[in-house]
Symmetry: C2
Subunit: 332 residues, 2 copies
């Protein structure tokens, strides 16, 4: 059984869509055992009864605009997010899934679950939308504003273990996001990281990857600092949204567009689906002692069920234990 704690109260459409996402995941996978933390009466009214589901009443949530999640998380042990993470720390579950605010999730990861011994920094790692037949990890996208090359190497190692154990890619190819493809490009951080990564026996290093290639590169893993990664991720999001709007505008401009749309409606829906993050699941927190999946704040039931699946794969792949072994090797 894959035991996960689910934060029912986090996300723009919580708790309803989150509970429906749980139902969907339970229908799809028969190896899940889920403990739901949230408003019990709400859960009971929407959940499909199942002996593999446990409910803990924890109706308090962090607001999306919370200015000071650190002190709130320290202060309020009743928060559904806090209770979910405590279940992980106490070993009652192997992972957690939440659509709560990113900053709160990172803080709770640090304060409640804690970093793995030897792991210097955690990373927030989403999966980019699938293009050219594959999906790619991008990290860090915001857990660290400042980062050192040695942190990036650990992130690359963690991401490699994750890709191997969840996607069965034997030697995942790791690229360094940079403003030019040639060695020697970028800031001092990129110069030093390039050196370190290219000499490490623990990863399969490709070299620099320009951001215009991030969606189509042959790399499986794209490394960068949290500030740059956040910029890249949000620029992809914004560009996709703006282009989607422009496409809609151009098609709606005249009768020919509207007729054409009637014919290719399904094709355009498939295109829209490729741009959406729903299939991907969520971002994983790498570097803590347990699997933490942060689902998108705007998750609907389907997207949340995919995030549960993502946590499930990471637990089944035994990702954290495998990374612990690597950290021991690195220390020797």
């Amino acid at each position: 059984m894959v035991k996960l704690a689910i934060d029912i109260m986090g996300g723009d459409f919580a708790p309803d869509e989150i509970i429906r996402g749980v139902n969907l995941a339970m229908e799809t996978y028969d190896d899940l055992e889920l403990t739901l933390f949230g408003d019990e009466s709400k859960i009971q009214s929407l959940i499909t009864p199942n002996p593999r589901i446990h409910v803990v009443h924890a109706p308090e949530k962090i607001n999306m605009g919370e200015k000071d999640p650190i002190s709130l998380i320290r202060r309020n042990k009743e928060l559904s997010l806090v209770q979910t993470f405590r279940a992980l720390r106490e070993g009652l579950v192997d992972g957690v899934v939440t659509a709560g605010p990113t900053q709160g999730v990172i803080v709770a990861s640090h304060l409640i679950v804690r970093r793995l011994l030897g792991m210097k920094r955690v990373a927030l790692c989403p999966t980019l939308p699938t293009f050219a037949g594959k999906s790619r990890l991008l990290l860090d996208v915001g857990a660290n504003i400042d980062i050192r090359p040695e942190h990036m190497l650990q992130h690359a190692m963690f991401a490699s273990v994750y890709m191997t154990e969840t996607q069965h890619i034997e030697k995942p190819l790791v690229g360094l996001v940079n403003i030019g493809a040639e060695p020697g490009k970028g800031r001092e951080l990129e110069h030093e990281a390039f050196e370190l990564l290219s000499h490490s026996p623990h990863i399969n290093f490709y070299g620099n990857v320009e951001p215009k290639e991030v969606l189509t590169t042959e790399c499986d893993i794209l490394l960068t600092d949290g500030f740059s990664g956040n910029l890249v991720m949000k620029t992809i999001e914004g560009t996709a949204k703006a282009l989607g709007m422009a496409l809609k505008e151009e098609i709606g401009r005249n009768i020919w567009g509207k007729i054409g749309y009637l014919f290719m409606k399904k094709n355009l829906q498939a295109f829209k689906k490729r741009m959406s993050a729903d299939d991907v699941g969520g971002a994983v927190i790498f570097g803590v002692d347990g699997i933490i999946v942060k689902a998108h704040g705007s998750s609907n039931a389907y997207a949340f069920s995919r995030a549960i699946h993502q946590a499930r794969l990471a637990v089944l792949g035994n990702v954290v234990a495998k990374m612990k072994e690597k950290l021991v090797v690195e220390d020797e």
Copy 2:
């Protein structure tokens, strides 16, 4: 007359497409007087004869992959790029247009044309594709890897003058590219820049702009450091390309897509045009004593003619002289 020096040898499709671009610009604007630097026999075979065109034989060019443009530009005075920039320095023209390699253009700007007195750093400033009815400047996208808040303020001032004098926007709205919209987000650079920009009487500051808004924000100018700006710009480019490919794939997948395409072909072409950089012209180098427009390396004739138009507007708007006045005010 707007006097410009044109580098005929720079760009992937030089010299043919560049010369055709010159013809197109000359047909469209009757206030241009152009001096072309390049292979004279090639120019004579393709150019539409016109007394407002002068030709200087300068057939040598910088290769796109040149490893050391600095010493090449120092060493080789015969390069078409060098001769074009020298014409600007000597006051024979008011501006230059080139599709040569970006790094070479930045180096030549520094070494040959020189920074304006009081201007601490130059900036490379492209115009983003037009969405929601307007175009926006993004700077710096690569002239400076490291940058200080006071440089960013000067960049904002220069960009504001440029927008006012070429686009007739009275008080252009300046946004700071950042990983969150709230004040206090980002690195120390963004914290300090936010402080400085929000207290400057020289610009109309909006606040932070997340990258997911860069194509749709109400801001006219988006400020960032050269590394981050390059990431954002290239991520937009790469995302647009990947989505364009995905759209084509989905439409080509079955007969309904193909029939629909026959109806909405023009709509989809208009969509594609919106994603392309051809209309925009090129990136402008801000901070040097003259107008320098760096056209896209892959410029076709139309795109290059738009880059000439962009330089023309900046010369007509007297942008450099207006900025000189601002620099004096700032020093007082």
